[in-house]
Symmetry: D2
Subunit: 370 residues, 4 copies
């Protein structure tokens, strides 16, 4: 990860501000001959798109992605495929209404990157948060749509498992349910509760945090490059880089601190196929930085949206004290739309490690048992 790029062999670079002409990204190092169309990417973008319920911002961002390069129609099959060259993607910014930015142009909104961008660079595009806007995450989702196709059999899904202090009941977990409510919540009862709860938050002009869980199934064992290229270390960076994320954990995570060695051990037996079988997954699918073949499970905490109607104390760039009230269209719980973003980041990291592993070790696992 450096500047505005991440990944080694599957490498993603993004650019663009919230209210500039367009945002975009370059996906470099993608294997050739993978079927890819704009519709494939659009499908994922539409899951992240705002304005789909009253619980997300009402901004209209059609988010129509355009593939500028890196694909070509194979003549034998008539299928549009990746060519192995960089995939350039852009989304034009269409809802850049000429706002009055007087409120935030010179004021540092608490919790936003206004102050830190100014103190670092001495200049910033304040319109809609500029580069620090969550709008950038659309390009992560686009890159993730490509990444999902790189690893055969990979399935990456995300769910909101906590809103404010309220956790879901994991015994009611139903992946299908995540597609039925506006919260990506796998627990139907919790989703019903969240609807009322979040209405209350929204009406107060307040906001609330959330915890998101990403589960990646079909991850081959052996991915991850110790010591500083550990799969979980790269996942941690990828998820922490999402706007508003303040914590990341793998498997049992912070709960592991309270466990004894006996409790935390994932015991092993042999499965019917003669391959090792784990009896639990406290590890979250990663041991010693390398995937075990179990599901990779990561969780991240999203802080409450910083844009709220409650006035907060602040200062301005001229060195005066002031108050800030953020009007406009904002997500009362920005964690909701972080679900597809989290999925995308996990998919990108796994795709990168899939290629890195294949590079170092080759396609055939040198399984010692054989």
């Amino acid at each position: 990860m450096s500047h505005n790029s991440f990944g080694h062999l599957f490498r993603v670079t993004t650019f663009g501000e919230s209210h500039g002409p367009a945002i975009g990204c370059v996906v470099d190092g993608c294997p050739p001959r993978i079927p890819l169309t704009e519709a494939d990417i659009q499908h994922d973008l539409d899951r992240r798109r705002p304005g789909q319920s009253r619980y997300t911002t009402q901004r209209q961002e059609p988010d129509q992605v355009r593939i500028l390069s890196g694909v070509f129609t194979d003549e034998k099959t008539g299928v549009q495929m990746t060519t192995g060259t960089p995939i350039g993607l852009t989304i034009e910014n269409v809802d850049q209404r000429s706002k009055d930015y007087g409120e935030i142009r010179n004021k540092y909104r608490p919790g936003h990157a206004d102050y830190t961008y100014d103190v670092k660079y001495g200049i910033r595009d304040y319109r809609g948060g500029g580069r620090s806007s969550a709008r950038e995450t659309a390009m992560r989702v686009a890159a993730g749509a490509v990444a999902r196709k790189v690893v055969p059999g990979l399935l990456v899904r995300g769910a909101l498992v906590q809103m404010g202090p309220h956790r879901i009941d994991r015994s009611r977990w139903d992946w299908d349910e995540t597609g039925r409510n506006p919260f990506f919540c796998p627990d139907a009862e919790a989703a019903a509760f969240f609807a009322d709860y979040l209405d209350g938050i929204r009406k107060k002009g307040s906001s609330i945090g959330a915890v998101i869980e990403i589960v990646a199934e079909g991850v081959p064992p052996g991915l991850g490059a110790p010591i500083y290229g550990k799969l979980d270390a790269d996942l941690a960076a990828a998820l922490m880089s999402i706007n508003a994320v303040k914590g990341v954990e793998i498997g049992a995570g912070f709960e592991a601190a309270a466990l004894t060695g006996e409790e935390n051990a994932d015991e092993m037996r042999l499965g019917n196929d003669g391959k090792p079988l784990f009896l639990s997954n406290h590890a979250g699918g990663v041991v010693g930085g390398i995937s075990t073949g179990q599901a990779v499970v990561a969780r991240f905490a999203v802080k409450p949206t910083s844009s709220i109607l409650q006035p907060r104390l602040s200062v301005d760039r001229f060195g005066a004290e002031t108050d800030v009230v953020t009007k406009g269209r904002h997500d009362p719980c920005v964690g909701i739309r972080a679900v597809p973003v989290g999925e995308a980041m996990v998919a990108c990291v796994i795709a990168d490690h899939f290629l890195r592993h294949r590079g170092q070790v080759g396609e055939t696992m040198p399984w010692p048992m054989d």
Copy 2:
């Protein structure tokens, strides 16, 4: 972070196994003319060294570091200084007693990287965990000792804030206390409790997890390179890469999920010096991936030591089911010795970002208020 290296301008590469001839590291990109002796590094290594109390492994690892390159005695001052060229460091492994590894040579110890290394590489040095041994962290501490000297005024300190389910009382926090008890615990009463608690764990042949907090003071505002080079993203990767770490959080961390926007906002006033002053630090010193000038606060969860005397179910590399009991000298709470390691990783990340920021923006902050 890639393979066995991390950092961009201040770049650390480590090598070596637990029971090979030596472990080592290369610190590349260090600024020139920084005073540096073996004693500087040894001081930090001695804090991590095992065998200093009954709560850590009784292995004897004198961990004498040797500087092989990258320093020279300045003729004007007579002071040994860095030259800007790579600093090569090694520590010979002296306590490699010829053990009977029969128990673990062919068995996969649950929670250890035995299985994943074998499934990835088809071969592994099983002696003492080989490359996946926590012994490697000695080189992180050595590199961290160099990193601490790169940023003027930087002070990085760590503390154990939770052992098993027991948290310290933060109102009793005393940094001096961390040097007085064998747990790096800033709460004297908690430390006394931990002594008894851990004796119980140890006598049962069990182990327990912990949570460590690292606080970096004197971090200049403006460090961090959005979007994928965020300071907190790099901290997350650096801390997650430490052996046995399963979770990382910045500032309020996972607690932020339960907060409202009003509660979470770090309001700003002007200090007596006319500079912005934050009234709280839920952000943990990082907003939008860039340091605010407040203390950078990171926390990480360490799982219980996987090596325990309790038998666990497992399989071996020949495809048979078996039991594993790990005898020998092990830390009942490996989180304790992770404290200086966590400090070192935070120091390295901050040093790297200090140089990266200076590269892009220069030494004078382009402060917009002026």
Copy 3:
């Protein structure tokens, strides 16, 4: 350099094929507050643009660059400036006439990347060379226009110094002359000769190679990061990566092989300002991989255009032998348009090293004489 990116702190990533919808690039890590407009970039692009004389391809590529991100108008001064965030640039491809690609669709043109792309990726965009087209170099020139502004006082100029076997007379070197003839040739007499010579080549349906020299003045001493980040090593890679380049040399270059140590030594005296003064520049401004403060001088050899009207033996992708004749609009000496491309690559490498040096050492040179 990796995949489609180069540079460490000043990092350029390009994408796009000759006949896709657009080509583009991302310039990441640029310092903030540097004045930058589309006109600044367009100026350099126009120097590379084809169709400006009968000696370059008659394709019409207006090459209108569009800045999508990374700039903002400073409110105090009204000047559009870089913000330190990634600069996204695109050029729409407008002259993508629907050609009959029957000739090259399935045939491997000798000297072109047709065969190697197919053998590597199993699929390629054959239209106009696809990703391997020299069209990609437009984005290098765009990035170079930004790079030129990063290093205060930097002046990078290029010249054609040999066409076919004919070298210019260096005693007639006049930089102004390079703007007056269509060959970027600094020797007016040679330029007149080249006009006739190249007409002959063109009329025969043949093509010819060239040697280009790039001179960078105003390069501060101390740039370059030994051992593998040497300034000249990075220049060599950057120039060799330009389409059709087969050789690179610094200073005396291959001539140095024939010199004795006495002849090759650049002796030093003190200048009137008390600073070291070199009496010659066989080194080309780089010693031990670090800039001396003298002009950095690099030269590169460009092979003759592979697209010629003369039939050549080849094979096709179905495994049959065939002949190839490349019709259409091609440069008889592709080396001519490589001049601004070479300048751009040198400017990018120097800008990157300027930032890297500032990162490691700071802004004040630790000059030992003081």
Copy 4:
């Protein structure tokens, strides 16, 4: 390439000065299960070792390499193999005799990096050239010995093809001859001439340059990652990074500038195996940055040794003008010992690209003809 590392998946980091305690390197990312012993590496080191004839420096450097990590004895076969973890190597410096460095301690020797290191870092280890000493190249050779084993069937050989203005006769090329004379010269008659010629140079206290050619056979087609990860661009950087190198060319190189398109085209026919066959190799085995399957041919120019007995004008670090005469044990033609170094660099680059290609595309070439 950055700082003191190069390569992406097969990554080499070196450290150490000429007169420090030891030099060393870390080879990271090497595939597992490759047989490797110290003797394998020593064999290559001995070819580079000085003091083997009167034509190279008389310093005694036994250059005994020590493998500190990254290998383990496979229990099934009893063979010591790589484990996929970083291979740490060191060579102790044994001939660090306590010299009088008065002559060069404060004087800047023309052609040496004395001045540039001082101007960059403000401090340098002047003993024997410190970090800029050609002694560092021993570690390149060691890394190259590992690299040679990574690509099945790879054969990398080097030869001196020019000394001073005198070129060999290529019609007499005999690879076996390179092992029979002290110049790695493939032309026995030229070698006999060089013996007398270099004696003359040496006796005058002078020195002379050379041109080295490296030929890599068995390079699979498809290696190289356009646009900025071209195989030839990486070769150019790798070779230019060798001490004293001033020029690099691939295939026809600078001669290509004088050729027409017809002459330069490498025509293709089908071989008896139905695979493409090239009728010539002006390309040097690389087209569009990707290997063709032909031999990869690179050449580099080495300047004359800067250490000569002839006095040269210079300045010192106190700002005074002075003369420099370099006494001591030096190679009259440093190009000779650059032959195994060039081989090693080419092997490392090819190994890296072999792994990178396998990562992106997999082990089976997606050959379009099938």
